[in-house]
Amino acid sequence: MEKKRAREKKEKEYPKTSVVLKVFRANRISGQPPHYDSIEVPVQRWTTVLDALLQAKQYKDPSISIRYSCRMATCGSCGMKINGIPRLACYTKVSELEGSTITVEPLSNFPHIRDLVADFSQFFSHHKRVKPFIENSEADIADPGTLTEFVQRPEDLDKFLQFSYCIKCGLCYSACPTVATDTKFPGPQALSQAYRYFADNRDTGSKERLDNVDERHGIWRCHFAGSCSVVCPKGVDPALGIQLLRGHLLGFSSNEKKIAEKKERLKRD
C-alpha cells in the first residue's frame, strides 16, 4: 500500500480527459447482488473522485449511493476504497491516480449498507466507549461562580495536538488488519482518541478510559502494522498514539500525575 502511494506521489500527475469509474454496487436489504458498474465521465485536471462520482450520479446513473458533505476533507463523510486504498473521495484528485480506470468500493471492516455507503454505528460505539471528552472533577459547571480557567501551556498542547485533528472518517479503521479479524478491537481511531484525552492535562478521568482499553480485545491486540497512519488524510499518527498509551500502561510514561493515578487504580483493583 505504501509503495503504491509513494509511486503515485512521485509521478504526481497523470493528465487525462476522461476516466472510467468502476463503481461497486450492492444493496443488501433489497437483495441486489454485488457487482461493478463501469461509467465513463469527463474529467479536468482538478476533478476529484467525489466530483467524478457526483458527475456520474447526476448525468449517468442517479441511483448510485454516496455519503458526502463538506467536499473539503473536513467532515470525513466520503471515505471509500479508491483503487483498493482507503481514501477520502473529496481529497483524492483523479489526476493523481494511475490508469484510466478508477475502482471505487465501500470501506472494508464496516458493515455494508448500499453501494459506497457503510454503516458506522460500530465504529462510533468504539469511539464513545473511550469517553472522548475532557472529564475534570474540579470543574463544577453547576455553579458558574466557581468556574475557573484551566491553564494549558503550549508544551502541554503539543503532547496531543496532532491527535485532535482526527475527523472520524474511518479510513484507519478500514485499513486496520486487527479490526478485520476482531470486531471487539476498538480500532486505531478510538485508541488514538483515548491517548488524546489521556495526554490532555485538563483531564482527570482517565481511569475508566484506560480500563476500557486495557482488556482482552483492547489496545494489546494492535499488531503495529502502521497502515492506520499511512491512510490518515489529516496526518494523524494513530499507531504512535497506541504505542504511547501502551508505554504508559507498561509504566514507561513520565507524566507524574498519570502515574499517580495509575498506582491508585491498581491499588483499588
Binding site: T178, T181, D182, T183, K184, D214, E215, R216, H217, G218, I219, W220, R221, L249, L250, G251, D269
Partner: protein, 118 residues
C-alpha cells in the same frame, strides 16, 4: 474471570521473552564449546543434568518459553472469535497446557538428575 489486567499479562509476556532470549543464548553458547555431535552423547547429556546450575538454566528456559509461548497462543486464539465462553475457554486451556508442559519438563529434568521418579 480475568485475575490479571491485560497490561499485567503483557508485561509478563515481554519480560519472559527477554529472559528467554538471555537463557537460550547461554544454552547455545554452552552447546558450542564442544562439537555438536559430542554434546548429544549420552554421558555428556547426563553430566549436564547433574550440573545443578545448568539444570536450573534448563528449567528456567522451560518455564520462560512455556509462559511466553502459551500466552502468545492465547492471544492468537482470542482473535479468532469474540465471545465470553471462547475467551474463557482459551484462557483456561492455555494455562492448563502450559502447566502440563512445565510439569512434564520438570519431571524429565529431575529424572535425568537422578532425583526420584525411577
Amino acid at each position: 474471570m480475568a485475575m490479571l489486567k491485560e497490561s499485567q499479562i503483557m508485561k509478563i509476556h515481554y519480560v519472559t521473552a527477554i529472559g528467554a532470549l538471555i537463557v537460550v543464548a547461554v544454552h547455545i553458547m554452552m552447546r558450542i564449546i564442544m562439537p555438536y555431535s559430542m554434546s548429544l552423547e549420552y554421558g555428556n547429556v547426563i553430566a549436564n543434568y547433574h550440573n545443578i546450575p545448568y539444570a536450573i538454566l534448563l528449567e528456567s528456559i522451560l518455564v520462560l518459553i512455556a509462559i511466553h509461548g502459551f500466552n502468545g497462543l492465547r492471544v492468537i486464539l482470542l482473535e479468532l472469535r469474540q465471545s465470553k465462553a471462547w475467551e474463557d475457554g482459551v484462557t483456561i486451556l492455555t494455562i492448563v497446557a502450559m502447566m502440563a508442559v512445565v510439569a512434564y519438563g520438570t519431571r524429565t529434568i529431575l529424572v535425568a538428575q537422578g532425583l526420584g521418579f525411577e
